[in-house]
């Protein structure tokens, strides 16, 4: 099972936490000048031209816009009580979970993975609520992701993922 990335968006459409397990494919132009060690796996493949010059921040904005539109489309077609769960392409699968407070949890995995909605829910309930919401030092809102990526949350996430999603 391959885990690509994980994002949390708050209700102000801002990405307050993101984590990647594989380096994103880098455009060849930026990497070519540097001598490459053999260990790099993902950067050896050609990046599609459309991705040139795109940063992590751009990715986050794209993903937010995408899940926002898909969620609206699903609600338009399936009715107000319908929720968007996941989509799959030939290469990856995007899992989606929205909390009652309109926070959005998004996870990208390989295509063989079944629903991760329950896990995303657990991440919210057992990790985010426990270590971020209940943390007296963290602010109520998290502009720029302040207060989310604290040590306990990071460790908890790491432990949770190795426990329920073994590689």
């Amino acid at each position: 099972m391959v885990l690509y990335s994980f994002y949390i968006f708050d209700r102000h459409t801002e990405c307050i936490y993101s984590r990647r397990w594989t380096p994103r494919p880098v455009s060849s132009s930026s990497k070519a000048a540097r001598p490459q060690s053999g260990s790099s796996i993902t950067s050896s493949g050609d990046a599609p031209t459309g991705r040139k010059g795109m940063s992590h921040a751009d990715d986050e904005k794209l993903i937010f816009g995408l899940v926002f539109s898909l969620r609206n489309m699903v609600q338009k077609l399936g009715g107000d009580d319908d929720t968007f769960l996941a989509y799959r392409t030939g290469e990856y699968k995007l899992h989606y979970y929205e909390t009652p407070t309109r926070m959005k949890f998004v996870m990208l995995t390989d295509t063989k993975q079944n629903h991760l909605r329950a896990y995303l829910h657990q991440i919210w309930a057992n990790l985010y609520v426990e270590f971020v919401v209940k943390n007296p030092l963290a602010p109520v809102e998290h502009p720029g992701g302040i207060g989310v990526a604290n040590e306990l949350f990071e460790k908890g996430l790491e432990a949770f993922i190795t426990a329920v999603l073994p590689a």
Partner: protein, 155 residues
């Protein structure tokens, strides 16, 4: 076994066919459907962009590759299946960029073979019809009838 609806989106992002087989999805105005098709067209392109790892060129295991062996197998395929609590949407993109969206129940089996059959009907009764103009809305009686017979037999 329920098939809700079929949409066909042209390569320019226009809705050229929409057909409801079973009620279950919300009724929208035709304008809303057109907008939905247009925005889906854009979303599909974004899902291609977001591909976190390039597909292995040796084993293109995607369903699109089975339906139509693609000379572009090294490229990301874009959205293929969308799941929600009420329905499941399968998207099949032909080599020429036409997209077929099939809305079914979440647990529907054999969607691939169903999609193949629909593609076949499209190739026969739409593309071989002398009175159909490419990229324009599809109004072909035999295509409608073929879909009817096919969906009825299956349900």
């Amino acid at each position: 076994m329920v098939v809700f609806a079929l949409f066909i989106i042209s390569k320019a992002g226009g809705l050229i066919y929409n057909r409801e087989f079973h009620s279950g999805l919300s009724k929208l105005t035709s304008n809303d459907y057109l907008m939905l098709a247009g925005s889906f067209h854009g979303m599909h392109a974004i899902t291609k962009q977001l591909c976190p790892a390039m597909p292995a060129p040796v084993n293109p295991s995607s369903t699109a590759a089975v339906l139509a062996p693609s000379p572009f197998s090294g490229r990301p395929s874009g959205l293929e299946v969308l799941e929600s609590t009420h329905f499941r949407m399968q998207c099949f993109q032909t080599l020429t960029g036409t997209k077929f969206l099939l809305f079914t129940e979440p647990q529907q089996p054999n969607i691939d073979s169903m999609m193949r059959k629909i593609y076949e009907l499209y190739a026969d009764f739409v593309m071989k019809n002398p009175f159909y103009t490419v990229e324009m809305p599809i109004r072909c009686e035999k295509f409608d009838r073929g879909l009817d017979g096919f969906v009825k037999v299956r349900s």
